[in-house]
Structure formats: C-alpha cells, structure tokens
C-alpha cells in the first residue's frame, strides 16, 4: 500500500493559493525527491503534510487514513516526521537533549529511544562526539545532521527532509544525502525536498514542481538525464 497519498491538494496563505491542486503518491520503501526552484511551493507541501498548514481543499492520506483531523503531534505518533526548513534545532539545549526530544512522541519506551539514539549516532558519528555541546554552537553541517537525526528519533515510517543541503558545502551536502540513503536502506520511506539537483542520484524517483503544480515525474535513468535538469532546474 502507498505510504502517502496526496490528492488535489490546494494550500494557500490567507486568500492567496500557493499549491493549485497537486497529486502524488509515495510508495513504501522508496526515496522520493521533490525538486523545484525558490518559491515553487515545496515547503508549503511538506508543511501541509506535517499538519503545520491547513489545506484549503484536497486530501492527504497516510497509510490509507485521512490526516484531516490529526494534529501535528498526532501525526508524529502515527509515524510521520519532518526535518524542517532552516533546521530549527533547539539552540540552547545540548545535542543529546535535542535528540531525546526527537523521541518525545514515544518517550514512554525508553529502551527503544536508546536504541534509536545509537542508530542516529551511527548515521552521524559527529553528533556522538558532541553529545554535551550546546546545539546552537554546532557548525551548519552538524546542525543539519542534528535536525535529521532528531526527526529520525521518533522512528518514522515516512521521513520528510526539507532542504538538507541549504547552505552546506557540496561535500557536506553529499554526506547528509548519503546518511539519508542509509536511513532509507534501513527501512524508512523518505521524501526529500531539494532545489539542488545534486540530490537526484540518491533518489529512486523525482517529482518536479513549478509554481505550485507538479510538472513532471522522473524515475530510473530519467533522473540522471541532463536535459531534465536543464529543463526544470536551469542547472
């Protein structure tokens, strides 16, 4: 069954629509990347899925169940997790405290949380070295790792990552994407949001977004097609 189904999704800010009825499905186990230029509506899409924005119309189903009446915190409990744009780590808490809070929705199961913490430290060994450091003093790349790690702590079945590569050097961006690919291989379905075509090799499928509509879906070799990048990303 599809993990996520988005149907005729319309979302706007006030009266002003930003998404004009988009449709897509994410299948279990795949890594999907939502690509588009600045202002295309990528963040709006994942924010609506996470429950931060209320859709004007349309339907979002997670494991077959409508999310319409689910609060953001209820969605985390259901297994939906978002590493938000701009990282939004808790700057005056330590790295370990940030990660512990990532497991808030499942905090009663302390043994699982500890296992999950080991897993995250496995994906991002740098975080393990800095467990007691204030998160606000981490480098940009480390903060991004922390944001993804925190999102993984809730043991999601669908992990959404909004612009992991933002402001990172190509090497660091690749490190984060590689960790993401590893998380996916360990059994988590992933939806990445990117405007950086460098993420394409790490994805099974790409959804291209332009001005609030999905204009193209690419799979397999098509993803690595240079023309596609030129056509839609100007890269």
């Amino acid at each position: 069954m599809a993990v996520l189904e988005v149907q005729d999704l319309v979302v706007g800010y006030g009266q002003f629509p930003v998404l004009h009825g988009i449709n897509f499905v994410i299948e279990e186990g795949e890594v999907c990347v939502l690509l588009g230029l600045n202002g295309a509506g990528k963040t709006t899409t994942v924010s609506a899925i996470a429950g931060l924005l209320k859709p004007t119309s349309g339907e979002i189903r997670f494991h077959g169940k409508s999310l319409r009446r689910r609060s953001p915190s209820a969605r985390v409990k259901d297994g939906l997790s978002l590493s938000p744009e701009g990282r939004r780590i808790f700057p005056r808490l330590t790295v370990s405290q940030n990660l512990r809070l990532g497991a808030w929705s499942k905090r009663r199961d302390t043994r699982q949380a500890r296992q999950q913490l080991d897993l995250v430290f496995g994906y991002f060994p740098r975080l393990a070295e800095r467990g007691n450091q204030m998160a606000g003093t981490l480098s940009g790349g480390e903060q991004q790792m922390l944001a993804v790690g925190r999102a993984v702590m809730s043991r999601p079945s669908l992990l959404m990552i909004d612009e992991a590569s933002l402001g990172l050097s190509p090497t660091l961006a690749r490190a984060v994407w590689e960790a993401t690919a590893q998380i996916a291989r360990d059994g988590t379905t992933v939806l990445m949001v990117e405007q950086n075509a460098g993420a394409l090799p790490f994805a099974d499928r790409a959804l291209l977004m332009e001005k609030g509509t999905l204009v193209h879906t690419a799979v397999g070799d098509d993803i690595r097609n240079v023309n596609l990048r030129e056509a839609y990303l100007g890269a």
């Binding site: 808790f90 809070l101 990532g102």
Partner: protein, 300 residues
C-alpha cells in the same frame, strides 16, 4: 565592629529574608517572560489572590492551616490557568503590547474582585505558620521568614531538577523553537498551561508566605504592604529576564539594596529605600543592561 559594619550585616540578613519573596515573584516573571516574551503584570496578584484564598479557608471557614495553605495555592494556580486560557491563548497572535495590557487587565480584575468581596473587612491578618522569632545582633528573623527562605531553597532546587526532566526540556524546547517542538510531537498548548500553572504556584507561595508578615488588603503583593511586583521585576531584569538562578540571586540582592535605605546614614533622606532601588536599577541598566546574573549558557 563599627556601627556601619553591623548595620550592613543587618541589611544583608533582613535583605535576604525579604528578598526571598522577591525571588519567588521574579522566578515566575522570568518563567513567563521566556515563554511569551511578555512581562506578566498579574504575577504578584496570583500571590494576593492565593493569600485571600488561604485566609478565607483558614480564618473565615476555620479550616486547618496546611489545608488552607494548599487551598490558597490551588486558587492561585486556577487563576494562572484561567489567565492562560482566557487571555494569553486567545491573544497569542497579538502584539506583545496587547498581551502586556492583557496581563494588566487580569491584575486589575483580581484586585477589583478582592475589594468587592472583602469591602467590609477593614484589617485582615493571616496568622503565621509559627509565631517564634530569633533575637540576634543583626535583626530578629521570625520563624515565618526563615520558613520562607527554606521554601525558596526547596523551590529553586525543585525547579533546577524539573528543567532537566523530560517535561522541563519540553518547556525549553517550546520556548526556543515552538514550530520544531510541535514537529517532535510536543503539545505546545499543554506546555503553555504548564508554564502559567507553575508561575502561578510560585506567585501563590510568595503571597501566602508573605501575607502573615503584616496586615493585608487588596493588591497586597502588587502594590500594598507586601509590594513585591516592582522589586520582583527588578530582580528579573538583573537575571536578564531569562535565568532562573539569576532571578533568585537578583531577588536576594534587591532585598539587600532595599535595606541599605534603612542605614542610619540615610535617616534624613525621605524615601531612601525606594531611592536605593531605583539608583541601583539605573546603574545596572547603564553599565550592564543585559543583566548581572546571567550564566553564559542559559539552560535553566
């Protein structure tokens, strides 16, 4: 020892005793300020209202002291939760000035209710927990005051432990990044209620503990005989409006500085105590506007 030296030590002793009340008020002010970015005008009125509750239960209804004390705290906490539900939450998207006016409205409403319900009673006295006192060379602390200091110590330790607990971390997370807190599944509304409940509990403790020191009437802890709102605010400023341990230190220092106004040296100066406080605050704001007691990495 010189007279001045002895007077200074006395000022320190009395200052700490009186400052304990300021510290409790300041803790509540800092807690709420970190959560909403707003100075809570109603903080001291949580205390007066709790005191009225305890007084009513103990003196009017004849309940036992401990139960009445607890009842007063419950009244204070209910007032805090109502403030969150009826003023803070509905105004969460409004400007800080609007919120500030909202908390002032809460304080005035509470004061109005106190006047209305107790218009007939001219002098109200809340009995002390224990009537003992200790005559020393440096002032005569009452048992009531010593108990207050002990409660402050206990509250400070409890708060420090609490902020390391899961819910304490959740409060800090919600204060630092509300959206991310929501995204990890923290119910930010519950956190907000929790903060106002704790702040009101701190105010309530201050009110019920300070009440027996004098007679009291409406607005006791804000502007009345127990006036702790302004000193509490000053203590919070010393803490940079964000450090909990700083609020405690600030409260004690403000208590001490205020007592300096009682030195024989200043006997001819009218209003010396208030003046000492304002001069001190002015100096701090001039030379160290970020606050005196602000740990470099503020966690709790």
């Amino acid at each position: 020892m010189s007279t001045l030296g002895q007077e200074l030590i006395t000022a320190a002793v009395i200052g700490v005793l009186q400052g304990s009340i300021y510290a409790m008020v300041a803790l509540g002010i800092v807690l709420v300020y970190r959560a909403t970015g707003v100075f809570n005008f109603a903080q001291a009125e949580f205390g007066t209202t709790a005191l009225f509750g305890a007084y009513t239960a103990h003196v009017v209804w004849g309940w036992g002291y401990a139960v009445s004390f607890g009842f007063g705290l419950v009244v204070g906490v209910v007032m805090g939760l109502l403030t969150e539900a009826l003023v803070i939450h509905p105004l969460r998207k409004a400007s800080r000035v609007t919120l500030l006016v909202g908390t002032a409205g809460v304080a005035l409403t509470a004061i109005g209710l106190q006047f209305w319900k107790y218009n007939e009673t001219l002098i109200m006295v809340m009995p002390r927990i224990s009537d003992g006192f200790h005559q020393t060379k440096y002032g005569s602390p009452t048992d009531q005051q010593l108990i207050t200091v002990a409660v402050l110590v206990a509250v400070t330790i409890a708060l420090a432990l609490f902020f390391r607990s899961p819910w304490g971390l959740a409060i800090q997370a919600a204060q630092q990044e509300p959206v991310a807190a929501e995204l990890v599944g923290i119910n930010v509304r519950s956190v907000s209620l929790l903060i106002w409940g704790i702040a009101a509990l701190l105010g309530g403790l201050a009110g019920i503990l300070a009440g027996p020191n004098t007679t009291f009437s409406a607005a006791f802890l804000s502007f009345g005989a127990g006036g702790a709102l302004l000193p509490g605010f000053m203590a919070a400023v010393l803490a940079g409006m964000r450090s909990m341990s700083g609020a405690v230190a600030g409260g004690l220092v403000v208590g001490f500085v205020e007592q300096l106004g009682n030195l024989t040296l200043l006997v001819d100066v009218n209003g010396a105590r208030a003046m000492m406080l304002f001069v001190f605050l002015l100096l701090v704001l001039l030379f160290k506007p970020s606050g005196l007691f602000v740990p470099r990495a503020v966690t709790a």
